[in-house]
């Protein structure tokens, strides 16, 4: 559905995106992770046809992203990282304008005006948005809800979401995640860039991590979790010195938790060694803690940065 091959775009400063390759297949939800300045927004701009890569190709639903941008826009719902709105409109006026403009450009394809209006009312109710206010007087959260509704109005097949839950309170974040999950269940294709790892973790099948303009990893979330470090919590009657010496060769991190248990982090490749070493100790409990996406992300960024992100 979204296919990027050897995409390069270099700004005058020398920053940019370099040799980006990934795809998002029909019905997939892909998380796009990276800190500010890593190249997420530049990549998204190329997907939406706002920018044209200096080399490489970007296609959406088989169409060239730059030259066929208006046709692609009919099939895509987009939430910008920092949504901007035309001046002097209320939320409702803005959404109604989008419906009218979309109908005028759609050439009879997609939802008609009545269907989009019904969808707008449903979404307004779902997100509890009072759309009678002027957008410029709205809070950040209300503006974000308006942007979310505008992306979902026409029931697109593809969503490109750049920090979609930015500015939303936890309740609304949960509602957005529910909505994304229901869209996923309907077979929609979603590329979601977010700093909220729970959001990505709960919706994405696959994660792409971008670092310094290059793809650092692109794996299934489950595979990533399996292939990365393992975290074990163990309770033992042994002296601390013995525990430390037992795992000294394989532990990446070792610490004592508040309850007195040990937390030991090892590479996924060292699981066998860890089990064998642990068997030498008098254990009262041994648990595996599920590593979070955030921890995986931090690992990628810690690799070459001396541990700092």
């Amino acid at each position: 559905m979204i296919e990027i091959k050897n995409l390069n775009f270099t700004y005058a400063s020398g920053k940019g995106i370099f040799d980006i390759n990934f795809d998002v297949r029909v019905g997939q939800v892909v998380g796009f992770l990276g800190p500010n300045g890593a190249g997420k927004t530049t990549t998204i701009r190329c997907i939406l046809g706002f920018m044209n890569g200096q080399s490489g190709t970007v296609t959406v639903d088989g169409l060239d992203a730059f030259t066929m941008a208006p046709q692609i826009a009919q099939r895509v719902g987009y939430i910008a990282g920092e949504p901007a709105f035309p001046e002097n409109m209320t939320g409702r006026e803005f959404l109604e304008f989008l419906i009218n403009a979309r109908v005028s450009e759609s050439g009879g394809t997609g939802l008609d005006m009545r269907e989009m209006t019904e969808r707008m009312e449903t979404l307004l109710e779902y997100f509890e948005l009072d759309s009678t206010h002027k957008i410029k007087r709205m809070s950040k959260g209300m503006k974000q809800k308006t942007a979310i509704i505008s992306a979902f109005l026409h029931d697109p097949q593809i969503y490109v979401l750049d920090e979609p839950s930015s500015g939303l309170d936890p309740l609304m974040q949960a509602k957005l995640i529910d909505l994304l999950q229901s869209e996923k269940a309907r077979g929609k294709t979603i590329l979601i860039s977010s700093h909220i790892f729970e959001e990505v973790e709960r919706t994405a099948d696959r994660v792409i991590i971008i670092k310094d303009g290059r793809i650092a990893a692109g794996e299934q979330v489950a595979t990533l979790k399996k292939s990365q470090r393992k975290v074990y919590n163990l309770a033992t009657t042994e002296k601390p010195e013995k525990v430390q010496s037992t795992f000294a060769d394989i532990a990446i991190e070792m610490s004592i938790l508040e309850n007195g248990d040990w937390e030991i982090v090892v590479n996924a490749t060292d699981v066998n060694k860890f089990i064998k070493s642990a068997a030498k100790l008098e254990l009262t409990d041994l648990r595996t803690r599920v590593i979070t996406l955030e921890e995986i992300f931090m690992q990628y960024y810690a690799k070459n940065d001396g541990g700092a992100v």
Binding site: M51, N52, A73, Y78, P83, P86, E87, S104
Partner: protein, 254 residues
Amino acid sequence: MNWVLLKKLEQKNRLLYWAFTGVIVFYFAMVVMMYPMIIDMMSGENSGMLGDFTAGWDNIGIYAVSLISEIVFSFGMILFVMLVFRLVHKPIEGGSLVPYLMVGISRTTYIKTVAAYLGMKLLLLFVLVLSIGMLSFVALGETFIFTDFFLSVLMAVLALAAVIFVSFFIASVRPGMGLIIGIPVVFYLMMLLSQLYSGIEFLRWFSVFGWYDATGLAVGDGGLWWLVAIIYISMIAASFIFSARIFKKRNLGL
């Protein structure tokens, strides 16, 4: 062109347009009311920096000068530069172009629609100035030659349109607002400076506003006004065509 968008642009900028047009019409009416006093002020010893321009002139001459130097160029320029800023520069730099593009409006359609909006508003300005002028003459019982007055207003609006479309072109093809405002202002200042004294009259050739003989046109002797009109129209057309072409390929940091 997208009619839904055109309607929205009209609604969005209605207040600004009519506020400035109101000032233009009001100023115009004031000039008419004060016509006898202006004649007195500008004649003989009281002739100011514009020179003794009442010598041998009729009321059309007064109108031509006031139109060119004060009303259409100055207020019109401010109004239309603001419109270019609001409709081209700000949506691109501020990101509010995104909702338009994401409903499937192409960049070319957007630029065409904005150009059509500007063209319609310039045409409306032309009609209003022409109508108010003629009504004022009739109301005061002044005689005027329709063709001369028509051409004076037409050339003033065409010159304004040419300058505005240069701004429009700049706003469409590059970031930054300095040139969008700077170029019209420089043209306007060049024209004003060229009127200070005959030694620097040549400066008017550096200003789009000064390419035609406004005062001559007002008294039925506009020389090659038609050639200048063709140049203005060509500038407008070229600015529009290149705006659309370059904007279509421009990388937008939206």
